[in-house]
């Protein structure tokens, strides 16, 4: 599969602190690439390097086949980005903000602006200044500005941070729409894993400035173990029964446990009844992206 972005052993140091420590990753064309990592793992630093806001201490990256050591400016004209907070003029309207970016890009006319405003749902903001926008509206305006040059690669750094549930849904739908209808490749960094799992087609897990694993959503689904979450009257008795039949399990609390592997509900019910343990409920349960991530990078000392 063709890659839009490839990084090779990228290193970024701030004095003695190493933010990126030989990071190598590949973003396939057409993907929604979920860039997952803890705070301080190096997600934003990587995005800053790709956007040209900062310079790598060592290593290179390739954008649309152009090496970062070459004429990367031309390649950057095909991308858009929202880094951390949306970059907008607060004393301007949504339309004026887009006009300003059109001028920076050297676009011949403003005729695409109404369509862009409609795409991000800001077509009715009129003369309202951006400073009076909600956080979600500002975020959408930031994305609209990033889309001004009709890019086919979009970098979004924590786009749903601080948004209310409605705002999160709007941004999610917008990203999906851009990916499906405009075939825009999206790199989206987040530590809100549940939300990311609804969007991403590929994942890159970063920890301490290095990519720990790159995996497609399909492959991840296969690797996430299935389990049955049971609610019982006594997990100690449940543990005895499961040890007897050789099933792997994890006790969540005094009344809840996860059982891994294929189980016969009828046999389990009988054995629990014989052991004097009541079974209240049983649900099929997938290992979450969060659990997968924790298994991959471990629990930090702070957690």
């Amino acid at each position: 599969m063709e890659n839009i972005l490839t990084t090779s052993n990228l290193v970024k140091k701030y004095h003695k602190f190493t933010a990126l420590d030989g990071l190598s990753m590949n973003v396939p064309k057409g993907a929604i690439y979920g860039f997952v990592g803890r705070n301080g793992a190096g997600k934003t630093t990587l995005i800053r390097l790709i956007c040209g806001l900062q310079f790598a201490t060592a290593g290179t990256f390739t954008l649309y086949g152009t090496e970062s050591t070459g004429d990367i400016s031309k390649a950057r004209r095909r991308m858009g980005a929202v880094v951390e907070t949306p970059s907008i003029y607060l004393d301007m309207t949504a339309e004026d903000n887009l006009k300003e970016q059109y001028r920076v890009l050297g676009m011949p006319s403003f005729k695409g602006i109404p369509e862009l405003l409609k795409l991000v749902g800001l077509e009715n903001t009129g003369h309202k200044k951006a400073r009076n926008f909600s956080l979600g509206m500002r975020q959408r305006l930031g994305i609209a500005i990033a889309l001004c040059g009709d890019p086919d690669f979009l970098l979004l750094d924590e786009p749903i941070n601080g948004l209310d549930p409605q705002g999160i849904i709007e941004i999610r739908e917008l990203i999906l729409k851009l990916n499906r209808e405009r075939q825009i490749t999206v790199l989206i960094s987040s530590h809100i894993l549940d939300e990311l799992s609804r969007l991403a087609t590929h994942y890159g897990f970063i920890d301490k400035g290095r990519i720990v694993k790159e995996i497609s959503a399909e492959q991840l689904e296969k690797e996430c173990r299935k389990c049955a979450r049971v609610s019982v009257s006594d997990t100690k008795k449940l543990a005895t029964v499961l040890d007897g039949v050789g099933l792997e399990y994890a006790v969540i609390d005094e009344r809840t446990a996860d059982i891994y592997g294929e189980i016969s509900i009828t046999k389990l019910t009988d054995r629990l009844k014989n052991a004097g343990c009541e079974l209240f409920s049983i649900n099929e349960h997938d290992e979450s992206l969060e659990a997968y991530f924790i298994n991959l990078v471990g629990v930090s000392e702070n957690d």
């Binding site: 701030y14 806001l53 004209r77 951390e84 970059s87 907008i88």
Partner: protein, 276 residues
């Protein structure tokens, strides 16, 4: 860079601080003519002096505007929008520098226009030879451009709007103070009237004695050179009164030198700067 300039100027017209600074500058300039006329009606005959004297006042507005204009690009993060889509740092720097210099010239133009309108209404005239007026205007424009280059260095290299405003204003006041002190020292007469007290306690005034505050020799040459080279010193000299300036032919060149050196330093550091 023309694209960035188009964007910068379009933003300029929409910036409130641009209109506020221009309006206040024009009103104060016109008011200085009217108030001068009310105190001493003959003062309106010296419109040229009034116009040039507004260059120093305009400098303060230019400093405030430059700090707000460049600081907003950092505080709103909009400078990132230019970098992300592939505009080079040199383009961004020079587009901002040209915009700030253009604003400075517009401020001086607004002040000149306001003095001209108010002065013409009161029947005034230029009050100095056209050549002297043109030369002093050229000195002021070049000195303002050099100051704009200094403000651009601060505005491009600091990432915090409040820090940019603070450093810019402190720099302006420090340069004003330095220029005023140097001018004051250089203006000290070589000899002053002596005074002595005799044995009976009577005060005797008369005779010329050396002024202890008079700066002479190499020290005077250095202070004079510094005053001629520094844009603030040039502005103070140009706005001080009538008559030709010391080294007036060289002053625009000195200003252009300051502009070139400060811009070179600014560009080199900005090219390496890590943006957030």
């Amino acid at each position: 860079m023309t694209r960035l300039l188009r964007a910068n100027f379009a933003r300029l017209w929409k910036t409130t601080s641009f209109w506020v600074c221009t309006a206040i500058s024009a009103v104060l300039s016109a008011a200085s003519v009217v108030s001068g006329y009310m105190i001493r009606p003959i003062s309106v005959e010296y419109m040229g002096t009034s116009m040039i004297s507004n260059a120093s006042n305009a400098l303060l507005f230019i400093a405030i505007f430059a700090a707000l204009y460049l600081g907003t690009d950092h505080s709103n993060g909009t400078i990132r929008n230019k970098l992300i889509i592939g505009r080079t740092r040199i383009e961004i720097y020079f587009a901002n520098l040209i915009t700030i210099i253009a604003f400075g010239i517009m401020q001086l133009g607004a002040a000149y226009a306001a003095v001209h309108v108010a002065g013409a209404f009161l029947g005034g005239n230029l009050g100095m030879p056209a050549g002297e007026f043109a030369m002093k205007t050229l000195v002021c424009v070049c000195a303002l451009a050099a100051m704009c280059a200094l403000f651009t260095v601060i505005g491009m290299l600091c990432s915090s709007k409040s820090l940019i405003v603070t450093i810019t204003l402190i720099s302006v006041f420090a340069l004003m103070l330095t220029g005023a002190l140097i001018t004051q020292r250089l203006a000290e007469p070589e000899l002053v009237t002596g005074a002595s007290i005799d044995e009976n306690g009577n005060l005797h005034i008369g005779g010329q004695v050396p002024n202890p505050l008079y700066v002479s020799g190499v020290q005077r040459d250095i202070l004079t050179a510094v005053n001629d080279v520094l844009p603030m010193g040039q502005l103070i000299q140009a706005t001080a009164g009538s008559g030709s300036l010391h080294a007036e032919e060289l002053m625009p060149l000195y200003s252009l030198g300051v502009l070139a050196v400060s811009t070179a330093v600014g560009v080199v550091v900005f090219r390496k700067k890590d943006m957030k």
